[in-house]
């Protein structure tokens, strides 16, 4: 005799699947980033074995920051597993699944990204032992800013969990909820990796040219901020999908439009996020070598970033059309 599971079972199942997806995807990025850091630390120690202790410390600090995206995913997974669910509806099931997916995907980029500056700081310490303090500071600032995309994913996951959807119609709200999670989740991947690339060259730059440390850090912050523009488009679409009340409709088309709006802006943000990161990566590298041309290099970086970003703006426009017109 087969038994159809009731709604309560489905909601509990969705909480567990959401928790699994959250920490499952979330573990990818942090592990890759930390592994990269350890590889760089090994090569740094083989270059300059006398500094093994310092390099080891830098590696551990860098890995600790790189892991924080994974810890955010763990927090969301714990909440999904252990918080008591009182509402049993299909919308609640969608919320739990979507928040787990959002946090899990959102942690990938930041984890990979913040491994880059930590690795560069280890190598930098071996080349330029006198700058190890400044290098660690620069690495910490860079990695902390790398965490921004995963923090955005966390914000969206929490807003999804704590918003009261009970007065909304089931269709198309379920699609809006899933779309909201996917928009920020996918969107955070590119920005996280991109801002990691920028932070990597800034650590290299500080080690190469200690006198240019301040402008290198400033331009790094600027580049990281610009590369995170794309995840902000994702979070914008997520907020619209969460807070806009959609009319009830039993047709599939409006629901699919909302789901694909989230997918569109999310996946569309991956490439530009990394691309802008690459632009700023180049700018920061050359400012460390030629500090005098900082004005020109920064301007070219901003223009290049703006052009790279245009594809993210196309997907934002398409997503807004899908939400408001279709």
């Amino acid at each position: 005799m087969t038994m159809t599971p009731d709604i309560e079972t489905w909601v509990r199942a969705s909480a567990m699947v959401g928790a699994g997806l959250s920490i499952g995807f979330g573990a990818i990025g942090a592990a890759v980033g930390e592994g990269h850091t350890a590889a760089c630390a090994n090569s740094a120690i083989s270059r300059n074995p006398a500094l093994a202790g310092d390099i080891f410390k830098t590696m551990l600090v860098g890995q600790a920051v790189a892991e924080s995206a994974g810890i955010f995913a763990l927090v969301v997974a714990m909440i999904l597993l252990f918080s008591t669910v009182s509402v049993f509806s299909w919308l609640e099931a969608a919320v739990l699944l979507s928040s787990g997916l959002c946090m899990g995907l959102g942690a990938i980029g930041s984890g990979v990204g913040s491994g880059f500056p930590a690795g560069a700081a280890c190598i930098g310490t071996s080349r330029q032992p006198g700058m190890s303090g400044r290098l660690t500071t620069n690495m910490l600032i860079g990695s902390a800013v790398c965490q921004t995309p995963s923090i955005f994913a966390l914000v969206v996951a929490f807003i999804l969990i704590f918003t009261d959807f009970s007065a909304r119609p089931l269709s198309p709200t379920w699609a809006a909820i899933l779309g909201a999670g996917l928009a920020t989740g996918f969107g955070a991947i590119g920005s996280g990796i991109g801002s990691g690339l920028v932070a990597e060259t800034s650590c290299e730059g500080v080690a190469r040219q200690p006198l240019a440390a301040t402008p290198v850090t400033n331009v790094m912050l600027l580049g990281q901020a610009v590369s995170q523009t794309t995840v902000i488009y994702g979070i914008l679409v997520s907020f619209i999908l969460i807070f806009k009340a959609f009319e009830a409709s039993s047709a599939l088309a409006p629901a699919m439009a909302l789901l694909s709006a989230g997918l569109c802006v999310g996946i569309g943000a991956i490439g530009p996020g990394m691309g802008i990161g690459a632009a700023a990566h180049g700018a920061v590298r050359w400012i460390a070598r030629n500090e005098k041309s900082i004005g020109e290099v920064t301007r070219v970086m901003l223009v290049g970033a703006a052009v790279t970003e245009s594809t993210a703006i196309y997907s934002l426009v398409v997503a807004l059309v899908l939400v408001f017109v279709v």
Binding site: I151, A225, I235, T298, L302
Partner: protein, 224 residues
């Protein structure tokens, strides 16, 4: 945990439109403004060549941000925009730090604060652009590199306001949510001071600096 996302609101109807005031945010903003005014008074009271304690901190802020504005714009324009940039940073950094104290909340945690500062920066940058290049030169920028790119350029400009304000809001809001949730999960043992130090002080300072830097850069992109 239960009061997450709860806001004290005052709703009044003015000429048929419902207006909503977030009382917490208004009070917190007044506290920040009051503290800044007090700091300004203490820093400038009894100015001397050998600076006092508050004067040193004040000079540090002014020197740093004047230098930054000079690098991005030029000496002449730095005189005009320097005070604005310096004040913007001091307001933002104090706003982001104030949540560390119990019972106080960051005004920047509410999207209204960063969004209004972002819109302010947008208008200042475009006004500066029109002043520097004349309206014709300013309008011509929108038709670069091809004339049919104009709608996308306009969307790109509006997207700047969205990105600058959501960046600050998301970071501060995210930090405060993490502090609240993790403290709740660990029964407030050991972790809250560390979290407040990282998300309140460290991330708060960086994000205030990023917001200020971006405002300067937006002005300089319009002017040059």
């Amino acid at each position: 945990m239960e009061n997450l996302g709860m806001v004290h609101q005052l709703m009044i109807t003015v000429m048929g439109r419902k207006m909503t005031f977030n009382l917490d945010v208004i009070v917190m903003t007044w506290i920040v403004i009051g503290l800044l005014l007090l700091f300004g008074y203490l820093a400038t009271r009894g100015k001397s060549l050998v600076p006092g304690r508050f004067q040193v901190v004040g000079e540090l802020f002014v020197e740093q941000f004047f230098g930054l504005t000079e690098d991005a714009l030029d000496k002449e324009m730095a005189k005009k925009y320097g005070p604005l940039i310096c004040a913007l940073f001091m307001f933002l950094v104090l706003s982001n730090w104030i949540g560390v104290l119990p019972h106080l909340h960051e005004p920047t945690k509410d999207l209204n604060t960063p969004l209004s500062l972002g819109i302010m920066g947008f208008f200042i940058a475009h006004h500066a652009g029109i002043r520097a290049k004349g309206f014709k030169g300013y309008a011509k920028e929108y038709f670069q590199p091809f004339f049919f790119m104009a709608p996308l350029n306009v969307i790109g400009e509006i997207a700047k306001v969205v990105s600058i304000s959501f960046r600050l809001f998301g970071n501060i809001m995210g930090g405060s949510i993490i502090i609240l949730v993790v403290s709740h999960l660990t029964y407030s043992i050991l972790l809250p001071p560390v979290l407040n130090g990282f998300f309140g002080i460290f991330v708060g300072t960086i994000q205030a600096f990023v917001f200020t830097m971006l405002t300067v850069v937006y002005i300089s992109v319009q002017v040059k």
